[in-house]
Amino acid sequence: MLSLRALPSLLPRRFTPGGILATVLVASVAAPATALAADDAASSIFKFSGFGTLGVVHADTDTADFTSSVLKASGAGATRRWSMDVDTRLGAQLDVAIAPQWSAVLQVVSEQGYNNSYRPDVEWANVKYQVTPDVSVRVGRVALPVFMAAEHRKVGYVYSMVRQPNEVAGGVPITSSDGIDLSWRWHTGALNHTTRLQYGRTNLSLDDQTRVRANGIVAVSHSIDVGAFSARASAIGADVTVNLAEPLFGALKQFGPAGVALADQYSVDHKRISLIALGMEYDPGDWFVTVEGGRQRSQSLLGTNIGLALSAGYRWRTFTPYIGYSDVRAQASTQSRGLPVAGLPPPLAYGAGLLNAGLNQLLMTLPEQSTVRLGTRWDFHENMAFKLQVDSVTPHRGSRGTLINTQPDFAFGKSILVTSMTLDFVF
């Protein structure tokens, strides 16, 4: 788990609703343009569409924040008991059919980010060349298949639950790749296969000080669809650098070989991160069941862990009640003995003690957590769905789980009850 919030007091927290405004402006400018074009053949060249979620979340704690992603500034709990920042977002997409085999897509999403602003981010921006009906090449920004629903995780209308569980691959700070993507669709008997290869890089600015850089991103995924059954396996590797807790690692290195070894072990500086995930879904229409597992490996603060998620639901008229369980286990210790303090002169021992405390504060962000959830989706209107969900989130073994903004009196191992209501829509 990326421990971006290890030193929360150093980071500025500003709320700027300008982001949402900008997205709405883009939408209102683009919409009349397509409306004007609707009268002639141009209507099929440009297509404007969008999606969004209006959500409110309550968490029964005041010692940490529950939120939906590691790339968020705050959530429900410590910051405020009721938060709209966890799930609320607006997305706008422009599809351009350039020529029979050429098309382009631009998707912009506004939601609360790591810097606490709603500044819109470019989620997708690529040009696609359809080589044959079954082979396509995309150049530009393409989302990474870090888990089964990773590419459409922001479009709440698509799935039954309020949000995708962040136990599987929730700590991977890279979600997209700027580069090239090759997709090949093929068939064997009744099986529809899609094989994808991606290569690229990403450079993501989280706030004024924090930056995620990933080079040499390689992703391979294979999905199989046959009737109501679908499955996907994916593997991703990347060299990741996050300029995180650099003062801490710099100070550790002043303490000789032991300190240098600790800094090398935990810093996220050109560290290879790898991820494999396998997901399956069976959805014959009246009910569904999904199961997914993932393993993330890295020799750094991002940690090594195994995640699992299960869900099942039943469709009755316009209601889809469902249950779910998800779990993540760290494969490395969430504690470190740190620098050897014994034998150091008192002022140095004091400094080393502080650094050890700082290091352990970072390590408690390695996630160990399980969640049980219960909820229902209600398709009450065309293109709209209302969802109500209750999650019981339990961090284990000295970890804060996927919670953020933990306060000094945070109680380890205590379950937190999270209640969420969302309105998802597409247009």
Binding site: S49, G91, Q93, W124, V158, D225, A228, G285, R315, E382
Partner: protein
Amino acid sequence: MRLFIQPVRLLLCVPGVVLALAALSGAVAAPDLVVIVSARSTAPALRADQVAAIFLGQSAQLPDGALVTPIDQPVGTMTRDEFYERVASKSPALLKAYWSKLLFTGRGQPPREVGGNAAVRKMVADTPGYIGYIDRSALDASVRPILVLH
């Protein structure tokens, strides 16, 4: 006054009840649908899952390798809702969710929609590479059924 109005109200209700009953019986015995290609097409008969794959954008080819383009009926029509229920077990909301997933991940757009049985039949009849579906009662010699959905 009251005594007079009540029977009138009752009378007014009768056509409503009859209509509701008619709608109910219609839902019980929905009309057969046929999946059609042009009479000039050489497309072989298809299974429901093969038709579903074509209309869900998972396959652009017939089993013999010929390219095929699906033509849809408009959103909100009974013919469309019945078709997707029978070939893919998808309600209108599930179908919308499915296409939203493909659209917002840049993987595809839903088929072109054409209004009504006659318009779909004409478009499919005129273009051998097209495939559509209509009520069985709208079938004529310009098109050839390759799957009947009871």
